[in-house]
């Protein structure tokens, strides 16, 4: 019995007291395609980052390659010698450099005396790798920008193969297929099969369950920071079984929409053919008192929708009607939308939501300084009252209004951020992935607050890729694809229904 090509034992990672990955194990055999699946936040990217040494694992974990212990701690500088190669989401290629430079970066052959790069030797090594991948027609001196997508994938793989003996090592593709257009996917899969037929092990991290079924031999599923199934053969599995593995049955989220009924009222916001960024045409009506979810796969344009409704992205078209007043987006700006009553809670809490070096009070009261304070005196009493109200309503710990935001946990920061925007009683509340990187307790609090905003009369737009969140709070869910509305679901629906609506469609709907 030979040792597995790659073996991981009890790998854990804790960020400041929050365990994001607990006792993970993984066993990848030579010559197999092994898929890692799991939702956002399930811990799969953490696992990859631990193996690649980007993060330092907690004490106790072990990583072996061919039975030889390489960590922890894993030294990222030695990964290549150990036989591990990582191909990242965006392939990590520099378009302005030549194929040869991209492939050999960090491993240039140099003249022993001058230290200059030995171009001839580099080119020969590159040509050999490309020929192996049946891409012998690519000239190593061509700029990567001029290659076809499938050729670029080959270049990224060729880089991973440098200095490697045939059939050895492990290549990890971290969501690589996202960066690859549909027409190039078959070539990509072909190259993976070529690699494994020689004995190299391949790990793919993927959201795309169809892809997993198509090329993986075995899968490992993660959920909530734990490995729930390791090395399950894909033979005899279907998408439904994989979906169950990924979602599990937690039932830990209450059905807020059921328990907190809210009636749709007059007013709210209407999106009229809005366009901008990757959103190509979205129309929808969200009445006051309603929570409407928007979701979609990674390339659906979902990530830009919230900012677009808040008029915070460039090149906007279409118009938005807020409580009967039409605002053309061409001439709109953030301030115009704010005045109309649209509160936008961005996804990037640290980058756009809160100034983390400033205090809770300063952050919470920022949007209301002009309306509640005088231009020559901000006023103190209202700031204090307002901040105390947020701390109480959201049960923020510690309830200290003069504490600096950075000292709070992610969940408490999210509570402060929501409080900041809910205070003004907005006409519409636009949330962008509000439960990202918050713990279960805070997640519940955030979702309850989302629902409460609708009960209190706001029109709530929840942009999220977390199907459980959507199922728990939404009255309706709009599924986007390629920047357009694909379908709309109305209650009753389950997380599974939403999940299938998103993913079956993107992969050519075999059901």
């Amino acid at each position: 019995m030979t040792a597995p090509r790659l073996e991981v034992r009890s790998l854990s990672k804790t960020f400041a007291g929050i365990t994001v990955l607990s006792e993970a194990r993984l066993e990848v055999r030579a010559g197999e395609v092994h898929a890692l699946i799991g939702q956002n936040g399930s811990g799969k990217s953490t696992l990859i980052k631990l193996i690649s040494g980007v993060y330092r694992a907690d004490a106790g974990g072990e990583v072996f390659v061919d039975g030889e212990r390489i960590g922890t701690p894993v030294d990222p500088g030695r990964l290549h010698e150990e036989g591990l190669a990582f191909v990242h989401q965006d392939l990590g290629l520099i378009p302005d450099l030549s194929v040869s430079e991209n492939v050999r970066v960090g491993r240039h052959s140099t003249n022993r005396f001058t230290g200059w790069i030995n171009k001839a030797k580099d080119a020969a090594a590159v040509r050999e790798s490309l020929e192996f991948l049946n891409l012998g027609h690519i000239d190593p001196e061509t700029k990567v920008a001029r290659l076809r997508p499938s050729e670029r994938v080959g270049v990224a793989i060729a880089r991973a193969l440098q200095g490697r003996k045939r059939g050895g090592g492990v290549i990890v593709f971290d969501e690589s297929s996202r960066a690859i257009p549909h027409e190039a996917l078959d070539d990509f899969y072909g190259m993976i099969r070529l690699l494994t037929s020689q004995g190299t092990a391949v790990v793919i991290v993927s959201h795309n369950l169809t892809e997993v079924l198509q090329i993986a031999d075995r899968v490992t599923a993660l959920r909530n920071g734990r490995v729930v199934e390791m090395g399950l053969p894909t033979d005899g599995l279907d998408e439904g079984a994989l979906t169950n593995l990924v979602l599990g049955r937690y039932g830990e989220l209450d059905d807020f929409a059921e328990n907190m009924p809210s009636e749709a009222r007059e007013g709210g916001i209407e999106l009229r053919g809005i366009r901008g960024g990757r959103i190509r045409n979205v129309s929808a009506t969200i009445q006051r008192g309603e929570v409407v979810g928007f979701t979609g796969s990674v390339d659906s344009g979902l990530s830009g929708l919230g900012a677009l409704i808040a008029a915070a992205s460039p090149g906007m078209r279409g118009s938005i009607v807020v409580d009967g007043t039409e605002i053309p987006l061409e001439s709109a700006n953030i301030r115009r939308m704010l005045r109309a009553g649209v509160a936008y809670i961005p996804q990037d809490r640290h980058g756009e939501g809160l100034a983390t070096g400033l205090t809770v009070q300063e952050n919470v009261t920022l949007p209301h300084l002009r309306t509640r304070g005088r231009s020559w005196w901000t006023g103190a009493a209202w700031q204090r009252a307002e901040t105390e109200a947020v701390l109480r309503a959201f049960d923020v710990t510690p309830p200290n209004r003069n504490a600096v935001i950075a000292t709070f946990s992610g969940g408490n920061q999210q509570k402060v951020l929501m409080g900041k925007w809910l205070l003004g009683g907005p006409a519409a509340l636009v949330l962008d992935d509000p439960t990202q990187a918050v713990d279960v307790g805070a997640r519940s609090a955030v979702l309850r607050a989302t629902r409460q905003a609708a009960v209190d009369g706001a029109a709530v737009v929840l942009c999220s890729s977390e199907v459980d969140d959507l199922a728990a709070v939404c009255d309706r869910v709009v599924v986007l694809e390629e920047g357009k509305v694909l379908t709309e679901l109305s209650r009753p629906f389950t997380a599974d229904d939403i999940f299938s609506a998103i993913f079956h469609s993107t992969e050519g709907a075999d059901r």
């Binding site: 704010l338 936008y344 920022l366």
Partner: protein, 337 residues
């Protein structure tokens, strides 16, 4: 990608045991005004070391009577740094404004009032150039303001004919050097400006907006603050203060030698950064800057009393700048982690 360093989440929040109010207030005061205490200690040590009989009151009076533009210049830097901008050009703008007053008045025969206005207009023009390039076109602020510093400083030499221009009516000098409560008007101007800016930054919505623009532009912009206007305003305010400094200094001295301008660069930065350890610890603030400025002037004055001049001044300011930045960095880390 951003979670690799400085995870900002903490779950094991330790609620500090209750502290008696008296102790809390005194700790608070200590952390805010430690610099003042240090200042007094430094003064006493210096006086003990200096031979002869110098009373502390006289020494303080001498310190406050320095005819220096540092407070004005540093106030401008505090404003630009607070909104997250970097302005090196103040020394050049100060220089050209200070040269413009005597040059226009004496060499070109303009009325003094008009010459003063001309100097201010020149200063604001350079501020506008900074703003247009940095805010409008998005060019690196260090590069732009380093350039305008050199251009303005160079043009100051051109305007003055490469010499000290003097010959302003000596009776006008009283505007700057006349005394009130035993201290020169210049000192009081500085205090008044500092108090005004401190009030704006600390107690008005504009000040809070400045803080947010400096802390996180995206957050500010999503809250409806016109980030661009705040940044432009900061560059103009900084240029205006540098221009005013030039005016009061050249009137006070009856003229100005443009070669002396660059000597103010380091004391100004040292005062600004040292100021972040006082009054509002961890933030650029005018009152802290005022205390820090006179703290530094006292230090140099003491060194002079000990008979050390020349190189010592530069070493002192340089060391003070580095120490100030280090302490302020450590302070910031303690506040946010």
């Amino acid at each position: 990608m951003t979670t690799t360093q400085t995870p900002t989440t903490t779950t094991n929040i330790v609620i500090p045991p209750p502290v008696s109010p008296l102790r809390r207030i005194s700790m608070n005061l200590l952390s805010r005004y430690a610099l003042v205490i240090l200042w007094i200690i430094m003064l006493l040590v210096l006086l003990a070391l200096v031979p002869g009989d110098v009373s502390p009151v006289n020494a303080m009076r001498t310190v406050f009577s320095q005819i220096t533009p540092v407070v004005f210049l540093a106030l401008g830097v505090v404003i630009t740094m607070a909104v997250g901008e970097f302005d090196l050009s103040f020394a050049g703008i100060f220089s050209i404004a200070a040269v413009a007053v005597p040059s226009l008045a004496v060499l070109h025969g303009w009325p003094v009032l008009l010459a003063v206005l001309g100097a201010i207009v020149i200063a604001l023009a350079f501020g506008a150039i900074n703003a247009a390039l940095v805010v409008g076109l998005g060019i690196n602020s260090v590069v732009v303001t380093l350039g305008t510093w050199s251009v303005a400083g160079g043009l100051a030499f051109l305007l003055s004919g490469e010499t000290t221009v003097s010959g302003l009516d000596p009776t006008l000098a009283a505007i700057s050097t006349g005394r009130f409560l035993g201290l020169p008007h210049l000192f009081w101007y500085g205090v008044i400006l500092v108090v005004i800016v401190a009030y704006i930054m600390g107690a008005t919505p504009i000040g809070r907006h400045m803080t947010f623009v400096g802390s996180n532009r995206a957050v500010a912009s999503l809250a409806g603050i016109s980030v661009g206007r705040v940044r432009v305003g900061a560059y103009l305010a900084s240029a205006l203060l540098a221009g005013l400094a030039g005016v009061v200094i050249s009137i006070g001295n009856g003229g100005f030698n443009p070669a002396s301008a660059s000597a103010y660069l380091l004391p100004t930065f040292a005062a600004v950064f040292l100021g972040t350890v006082a009054v509002v610890p961890g933030r650029f603030n005018p009152l802290g800057m005022l205390i820090a400025a006179y703290f530094l002037i006292t230090g140099v004055f003491g060194l002079q009393l000990l008979g050390l001049t020349g190189w010592v001044t530069e070493v002192f300011y340089g060391a003070a700048l580095i120490i100030a930045v280090t302490v302020s960095h450590l302070l910031q880390r303690r506040v946010t982690s």
